[in-house]
Symmetry: C2
Subunit: 226 residues, 2 copies
């Protein structure tokens, strides 16, 4: 019982700090994504494909969350965008405080799009608002079509689902229609994209949508932000 | 600081309960696995292939840990072995208390092998001893070859690594030699198996080894248990 109370307090405190982060983002006019998934679903690969297409159209910065290593941050830095690394040292999720502290090392002036790549974990990051405008969950086809039902909180709290690794569909037991149905059973308003980073499929549609969100946001049309 | 103290207390209490579980397992002569991985790496599929081969050779029981749904427990129950489902209701890992409570619904008399399938999460279950004799971590080739370095605690605390979905190697960017090197950098004594559940590759070798462990254990040759 006391543990539950502590958890609630931790989440309440997190929500407060997330609101403060959101105000900072609003002040700078930055549209912010929180990208979550299991380890190895392709978060960094999606970011790479996204940066290839959008880095000359939008001013983008990235916060990389990892349990250990700066491998992902190095991959992102290769695109010449500002990157701040958060290493959680065993911690299973990013929280608003970690993001707040990371912002001390990131100049948001002029940044239109900030992408936060969370720790690979389909459970714990679900309840931690970072102050983002949109939570994007990735599910790779290799994980099977039942994951939205088995890890519902993440799919319920996300606004966008990217079904990644669709090039592997011929080789894995995953019914993509069933995967999308399961996701919509948990969250009927999910916007869904289907992508393959290796075959470059579906990335243009995702990037077009994302660019539109950023422009809607910076023109103050916040009603359209999901 | 207080949070760290609470975490330490939680882990100390867990270790106490895990020791009690281990005594219960020893008393019944049951060899116990704690199977961990990311969501969708193939824990349940490995269990299915294992039960196909060993259910008529060994008396096996299974504890299924899931955040939500009893899908996996149903898949296992189809093999006619005793299964107890633990639903964590959002909890990100099994702990020794949950397993202790589950044992109240499981008759261990005569059980030679108890397999505990943990929640799909490569971070949080790493530090929670359940009283098992051997922690088995799965990494699927689709997750890439860097995961041991990025999620080191799990690979450090496991004794066995099963590299699953090797049939997908031709289609994914994963150097299996590099994956194994990375795993051994974290944990030089890891026993490593390579498997494909869909192509039935490597399963016999894994099952032969597992059967041997169970027989060593029941003959009191505990020195060989890893």
């Amino acid at each position: 019982m006391s543990i539950i109370t502590i958890e609630r307090k931790v989440l309440e405190k997190n929500d407060e700090l997330a609101s403060q982060n959101r105000e900072v983002f609003q002040h700078h006019g930055a549209f912010v994504l929180n990208v979550v998934s299991s380890p190895g679903s392709g978060k960094t690969s999606i970011l790479e494909r996204t940066l290839e297409r959008l880095k000359n159209k939008l001013r983008i910065a990235v916060i990389e969350g990892d349990v250990q290593t700066d491998f992902d941050a190095q991959r992102i830095a290769a695109f010449g965008v500002p990157v701040v690394q958060i290493i959680t040292n065993g911690g299973c999720h990013l929280d608003a405080k970690l993001v707040h502290d990371a912002l001390g090392n990131l100049d948001l002036n002029g940044i239109q799009l900030l992408i936060i790549e969370n720790v690979g974990n389909l459970v714990c990051p679900a309840n931690y608002d970072l102050g983002e405008h949109t939570k994007v969950v990735l599910a790779s086809t290799t994980e099977g079509d039942d994951k939205p039902l088995k890890y519902p909180t993440m799919f319920r709290n996300a606004s966008v689902l990217i079904v990644n690794k669709i090039d592997l569909l011929p080789y894995v037991r995953c019914d993509i229609a069933e995967l999308k149905n399961n996701a919509r059973r948990i969250n009927p308003s999910l916007m869904i994209f289907e992508t393959s980073c290796t075959k470059q499929e579906g990335i243009d549609r995702w990037c077009t949508w994302l660019e539109e969100q950023v422009h809607n946001h910076s023109s103050g049309n916040t009603g359209k932000i999901i």
